[in-house]
């Protein structure tokens, strides 16, 4: 009798463990994030190296379907809008991929002249993926002369939900204090508008252009883990690529990404 009890207790316990294991698993299915170093020190970089490459897409490219423009047609519907979660160019070049150094702890300072803006033009965010240094302001531009509403779904920092009426051409947002990202930027007025912003603690981040190209410059010589993030293809955070940068040298590292 006692053994029955013990056995059932064991089964019950086992169930609990399996249950929690599954629960933990389902949690990781959320949006994949960038990985940041615990601390970063800015210093002068002499004779740094360069990491560059091309990101390509592998697989069937879904047909481009125009987004449905449901309001403000005059401004928003002047030219067709497409979903930008997967933009594949000539030769399968993959735009809007973030390529970055995962584990750098010291390197160059941010370029102060770099603009951290996202424009709202024709009811579309440009660029679709933006990098903003921690402590810098992201400025939202409104070239549309209609009302937009900037909604940034941050979780670590405070989310932003701020109206940008039509006369508000330039709206600087309060600088954030913690590294986070990418987080989605939406416009509540025009539900189809979407962009991604990453608040980063160091400047070794690049976003691929139409040709899928990226370049990270002034990298101090050393060994690094090279990571990527793409909205539709996910990240390689669990298995980043190791690269060795030599002083003044150039490393080429290409990526081929598939839909996640």
């Amino acid at each position: 009798m006692k053994s029955y009890l013990l056995a059932s207790l064991a089964i019950l316990l086992a169930c609990c463990f399996v249950g929690t294991a599954f629960a933990a698993d389902s949690g990781s299915g959320e949006m994949e994030m960038l990985v940041f170093p615990e601390a970063y020190k800015a210093m002068k970089v002499n004779n740094g190296g360069t990491i560059s490459g091309v990101v390509k897409f592998e697989g069937d490219v879904p047909e481009k379907a125009a987004l449905e423009i449901t309001k403000d047609e005059k401004v928003c519907g002047a030219d067709p809008k497409f979903d930008e979660s997967l933009v594949v160019g000539e030769g399968n070049a993959l735009k809007n991929t973030i390529v970055y150094l995962i584990d750098i702890s010291a390197g160059k300072d941010f370029d102060e002249k770099a603009k951290t803006e996202i424009d709202q033009k024709g009811c579309k965010f440009t660029p679709h993926v933006q990098i903003v240094p921690v402590g810098a302001r992201l400025t939202m531009l409104n070239s549309d002369k209609i009302m937009h509403n900037v909604h940034i779904f941050s979780k670590i920092n405070k989310p932003v939900n701020k109206a940008q009426p039509k006369a508000r051409r330039k709206m600087p947002l309060k600088a954030v204090k913690k590294a986070e990202g990418p987080v989605e930027v939406k416009c509540d007025v025009h539900g189809w508008m979407s962009a991604w912003v990453s608040y980063v603690p160091h400047p070794y981040f690049a976003v691929t252009n139409e040709k899928g190209e990226f370049t990270l410059e002034d990298v101090p010589a050393g060994e690094y883990k090279l990571g990527y993030w793409h909205e539709a293809c996910g990240t390689n955070s669990k298995a980043p690529v190791a690269v060795t940068v030599e002083a003044g040298g150039t490393v080429t590292q290409d990526f081929t990404l598939k839909m996640k």
Partner: protein
């Protein structure tokens, strides 16, 4: 001796003030008691760990608050600030109308509520880390409610884009309304501003002002912090000039310069505001610019709050019971058509709707508040006008889960036979049972048609073979449906309800909001109410009573004469 007394009094006074202050502002330290109360009363919806994921959460919308992110909708504090303890205490005490959060004023003692406040604060570290108390919204510049203020507010309502979500007349039917989500990705409907009784944090002008200035953190409603205002940092005249220039197709050189100057001033003030938000100390000059700019913003916001206040009735209408029973008014001749001004003069009867939660699939999150009804009748016909608010006009949408077609609809329910007397049984309110019900079923996809049904249960309704001559007309404007129906008082069909003046007839309603997933039994409804064709006081009242009075008097005189005569004979 005197000094000692004074000192003692001072200490006593200090203790009293201190005690009061503690209760007004600060919850006690989190305790075992708070945890216990929370787990007994709150965790079912808000979850053991405060993530808003309790066992009941799945079925609720708005979702129970996730306390782990420190985002609170109803606050007396500025944008980005945490709520005060008093804010949290008030919400627990008063509940949140229009959501599933009930008031806890009777179920929990004040002490327990304070304990819970302390406990829910432990779910978010920001409360502990905060070095200064949250900054409260300054209510001192209140602009009294007046016609002029409402007018100014109305212009701002459009200028600031409120209309995009809340709609032209505030029924929450703006063109962006269906796409809104909250910070957790759940649907977030904009408030119907004409229904103040459903405002989560109250509908006093001060409440509206606070929601507008502070935003509803976590929801789709943005905060209108100062620098969201077009022309922040400009005087009222300057900002309207700026907008005027903006709207010109072409500007002269001088105008361009003027516009550029205004924008420069505007940008400079915005820069100061952002600096302040980031925690930068302002110079005296900057502070002056900021304060001046904010006083313009606050004044405008009071105008806007007054305008929003003007959109709603003073209080929620009384349900159609007792004195408010739906009374169809008699008129001679033709009954008014849908657009007839005669409807304007009638008070509507208010039938509040609730989610159908008896039979699967249920509706736990109703989006339609009520249906308002007016009625006229004449010697042969009766006409009804049904009015209800729905944020979206849905005629043909497919439910992703079930594949069913979702559309807006209304059903008006009567018994087939009017119960004789007030204690006689009525059919079961969920579309009948043993006793059948007679229904008028209207769908948004065929707005000028009403189908007659007979039902013996919510899943047992059939279209009547003989469709009587019902006339119907339906419209949808600015987030509101109107349905006009006319029918003969008497019909030849035994399955129809027959109407007679002066007889109290049970009436009930079901409504469907397609955009809210309403279909079949998933709907909002009422239980039985009553309506009556208000009897006309008969014109015979001018004949019979005087006649009877006359006869009585005559009889008395006769009696008197008779008695007198008999008396004299006896004498």
């Amino acid at each position: 001796m005197r000094i000692r007394t004074i000192a003692l009094l001072l200490i006593l006074f200090g203790m009293l003030v201190g005690f009061n202050f503690a209760h007004a502002q600060n919850a006690p330290e989190a305790s075992e008691k708070g945890k216990q109360v929370y787990e007994n009363s709150c965790a079912h919806c808000h979850g053991i760990e405060g993530r808003g994921d309790g066992s009941a959460a799945e079925n609720l919308l708005p979702k129970p608050r996730d306390f782990t992110r420190g985002l609170y909708k109803i606050r007396s504090t500025e944008t980005g600030q945490l709520p005060t303890d008093q804010d949290l205490f008030d919400i627990i005490t008063e509940g949140m109308p229009g959501s599933s959060m009930p008031p806890w004023d009777t179920a929990l003692s004040a002490n327990d509520r304070w304990e819970v406040v302390a406990y829910i604060k432990t779910f978010y570290d920001g409360f502990k880390e905060a070095e200064t108390p949250p900054k409260q919204i300054n209510l001192s510049g209140k602009v009294p409610y007046a016609e002029q203020s409402v007018e100014t507010g109305k212009a701002l309502y459009t200028e600031l884009g409120c209309v995009e979500c809340h709609g032209d007349v505030g029924r929450g039917d703006g063109t962006s309304a269906p796409d809104l989500t909250d910070e957790w990705g759940f649907q977030s409907w904009p408030a119907n501003l004409t229904q103040g009784w459903n405002f989560r944090g109250g509908s006093d002008t001060e409440d509206i002002f606070k929601r507008f200035i502070g935003g509803l953190a976590g929801s789709a409603m943005p905060a209108f912090e100062g620098d969201s205002f077009p022309g922040f940092g400009l005087t009222a005249e300057e900002s309207s000039r700026m907008i005027e220039l903006d709207n010109k197709d072409e500007m002269t050189e001088a105008e361009e310069e003027e516009s550029a100057q205004l924008y420069e001033k505007y940008d400079a003030a915005v820069d100061i505001a952002v600096n302040l938000a980031e925690g930068t100390e302002l110079s005296a000059e900057e502070k002056q610019i900021y304060d001046d700019a904010m006083s313009v913003v606050y004044e405008k916001s009071w105008h806007l709050a007054n305008y929003v206040k003007s959109l709603m009735p003073e209080k929620r209408p009384e349900p159609a019971i007792g004195n408010n029973v739906l009374r169809s008014q008699y008129i001679q001749g033709e009954l008014p058509e849908m657009d007839d001004a005669a409807w304007e003069t009638l008070e509507a009867s208010y039938f509040p709707l609730v989610g159908q939660v008896v039979i699967e699939p249920r509706q736990f999150n109703p989006t339609i508040d009520a249906v308002n009804v007016k009625s006229y009748y004449n010697d042969t016909e009766v006409a009804f006008l049904f009015i209800w608010d729905d944020r979206t006009h849905t005629t043909d949408e497919t439910d992703e889960e079930t594949g069913k077609t979702l559309e807006d609809a209304l059903a008006i329910q009567f018994p087939v036979k009017v119960p004789q007397g007030p204690t006689a049984p009525k059919p079961y309110f969920l579309w009948g049972g043993r006793l059948p019900v007679y229904l008028w079923h209207w769908k948004a996809s065929a707005p000028d048609q009403v189908t007659e049904l007979t039902a013996k249960g919510i899943n047992n309704a059939g279209v009547q073979e003989a469709q009587g001559e019902l006339q119907a007309q339906g419209t949808y404007t600015n987030g509101q449906y109107k349905l006009w129906v006319k029918r003969a008082l008497k019909t030849d069909d035994k399955k129809d309800l027959q109407l007679e003046s002066g007889v109290f007839v049970p009436i009930a309603f079901s409504a469907w909001d397609g955009a809210n997933g309403d279909v079949d039994t998933k709907r909002v409804m009422t239980s039985w109410y009553t309506f009556v064709l208000e009897p006309v006081p008969s014109s015979k009242r001018f004949i019979y009573p005087p006649l009877i009075a006359l006869l009585s008097v005559g009889f008395l005189f006769g009696l008197r004469a008779f008695v007198q005569r008999r008396n004299s004979e006896e004498a």
